[in-house]
């Protein structure tokens, strides 16, 4: 692929110290554990996994909102933490899950969308207004709504506003963290379609984080499956969904309830033990929930295998 990927993640690791009570000794939680990957410009990189697997922490590392404990993340070949805020904002922008929480309730829609541009401090007011109107129209928000406040908009409209704000600086990369999870199905489809259109038109690179596998399957080119802070499998979307190699990926895919009546609810066999990032098991971190684990999995951590150029799997038993 291209010599200069849009995003590079090099051995990123992030720990948190968590105290659960006043007299409790702090526990160390490893949210992201030595993750590496490279995302080609113009592609859509999906990250899936259960809650607590570290996918949102990884998103914040990529966005430069959080410093890694060790390792680094690069956007467009530059270390994100070396950039000042204005430069960073021109390169990479977030779209978050809950447009009720991510938009300032006291500001008008037009001001919310224009803020990244205003903060750059390089353009005149009329020029900012012109670009704001242009991007609002592009995401399907009528100018009548520009003077309103977020509370007056529906969830879908608010998410369109959040997308307009992310795109007004024409960034190279947009990180979408659960972009449709707070929305109704009919609206979810509108937003997924809009994101796909905008990527084509603006030549964007997306990182799409979601627990909704159907949405990720629909828009991602490459998908990474995250479990307890690590990528346990990466693959091209069609390949990964058709032929998952890691037992966790298999279980995750089986547990998706597609709208096909008569199939019932599958028994994915993951058991009742929930993964705890403060207490990562020795050996393969997935072994306590794994259907096919053998003795080796309990003591020896698997090293990544690369079955093809764009795929990776971390499992002793995967071929």
């Amino acid at each position: 692929m291209s010599a200069n990927p849009a995003i590079e993640i090099r051995h990123a690791r992030r720990e948190f110290r968590v105290k659960s009570g006043l007299f409790d000794t702090a526990r160390r939680v490893v949210a992201v554990d030595d993750v590496s990957s490279s995302i080609p410009a113009g592609s859509v990189f999906g990250i899936v996994g259960e809650s607590g697997c570290g996918k949102s922490t990884l998103a914040r590392l990529i966005l430069g909102l959080l410093a890694p404990t060790s390792g680094e993340t690069l956007v467009d070949g530059k270390r994100i933490l070396d950039l000042d805020r204005r430069d960073r904002a021109r390169l990479i922008q977030p779209v978050f899950q809950d447009p009720f929480a991510s938009l300032n309730p006291r500001q008008r829609i037009a001001d919310i969308v224009a803020l990244p541009l205003t903060a750059q401090g390089t353009l005149t007011k009329p020029e900012i207004d012109r670009r704001t109107a242009e991007i609002l129209e592009r995401v399907g928000i009528s100018l009548v709504l520009a003077g309103r406040h977020p509370a007056e908009l529906s969830g879908g409209q608010r998410q369109r506003v959040a997308i307009a704000r992310a795109l007004i600086l024409r960034p190279r990369v947009v990180v979408c963290d659960e972009p449709t999870s707070a929305l109704d199905v009919s609206v979810q489809a509108q937003i997924v379609n809009l994101l796909a259109e905008l990527r084509r038109d603006f030549g964007l690179t997306y990182i799409v984080i979601s627990h909704n596998l159907a949405v990720v399957e629909h828009i991602a080119d490459v998908v990474a499956v995250m479990y307890l802070g690590r990528f346990v499998e990466i693959g091209e979307t069609d390949q990964l969904f058709r032929n998952p190699r890691h037992p966790y990926t298999q279980a995750l895919l089986e547990s998706v309830l597609t709208p096909e009546p008569g199939l019932g609810v599958p028994d994915v066999g993951l058991g009742d033990i929930m993964p705890d990032p403060a207490n990562i098991p020795p050996g393969c971190r997935f072994h306590p929930r794994c259907r096919i684990a053998v003795d080796r999995c309990r003591v020896e951590a698997p090293i990544p295998k690369f079955p093809s150029e764009r795929s990776m799997v971390e499992c002793h038993l995967a071929s």
Binding site: E50, S51, S154, G155, G156, D184, V185, S186, V187, Q188, A189, Q190, V192, N193, A196, H211, L213, A214, V215, E217, H218, I219, T237, D238, F241, A251, L252, E254, S255, V256, L257, T258, P259, E260, P261, G262, L263, G264, V265, P266, D267, V268, L270, D272, M274
Partner: protein
Amino acid sequence: MNVPLLDVENLSVTFGGQTAAVRNISFSVNREETHCLVGESGCGKSATALAIMNLLASNGRRSARRLTLDGQDLLGMNERAIARIRGDRMAMIFQEPMTSLNPAYTIGSQMIEVLRRHKGASRRAAVDRAIELMGRVGITAPEMRIAQFPHQLSGGLRQRVMIAMALMCEPQLLIADEPTTALDVTVQAQILRLLAKLKKDFGLAILLITHDLGIVARVADRVSVMYAGELVESAPTQELFDSPQHPYTRGLLSCVPVPQKLRRGEPLGNIPGTVPQIAPGYAGCAFRSRCTFANESCAADIPRRLATPRHDFLCTRLPEVMMGASVA
């Protein structure tokens, strides 16, 4: 046919006299049947559940021609009588178990309270029952869990506790309002399997409220689609997915990506526009402003029509238009 366990006829709910949240809906749930109410936010599905339980907010008003549980009228009952039935013969579980559990009490004390209040059971008997049910809903080491507080449990375990608590008095009807929406897909599958098993083991009638058509397809015996407070279509599950009639049902089904059916990168189907605000006295089809098949006839009252004896829908335009469309 036997008498349905829950029978709802012409139920309406208004809030503050301004908003018609539920408009004249009728449906029933049989024993050992899962009936899904599906629709998007604001369609009135939760208001329906709360109206059945008589738990509407103080500005909510319900009216109905008939509302019976196992043949017994719930409409004329006073609050004391309803309170005796609620939690005993009909129970409800909610989306976010953390907000329904009291954080200041152990889960054990919250579970045994149900049995002691309704059945006057002894403390010892109630504890035994709680431990037994926790085991049956798949909670490992119930003797330890019973002394824990809600925050010490994972989301999936909390929802299992809610289900066990709902089953303490062996209810006939379980109303589950988005019971798995806050959970991961892997845990969701476990909880839904559990509900299906309990339906058989206890002969439960389940009214399951969800926005997720995947859940509907996999667990429902019968589906009712709600839009703007009305039941726009109701059918046995397979039939609804095979031959949806109402344009809203068709639209909703096209919005969900089905793997292998839709090529990647192709746009998903969607329903343009938004749900209108419905005030009492609204006439005609509420979907007409978003419907591609609408004409002037849709502003008049819409008669309920049958597609098959067990499949009805609210639309004057179909199937004529569709037959015309398929010919063209």
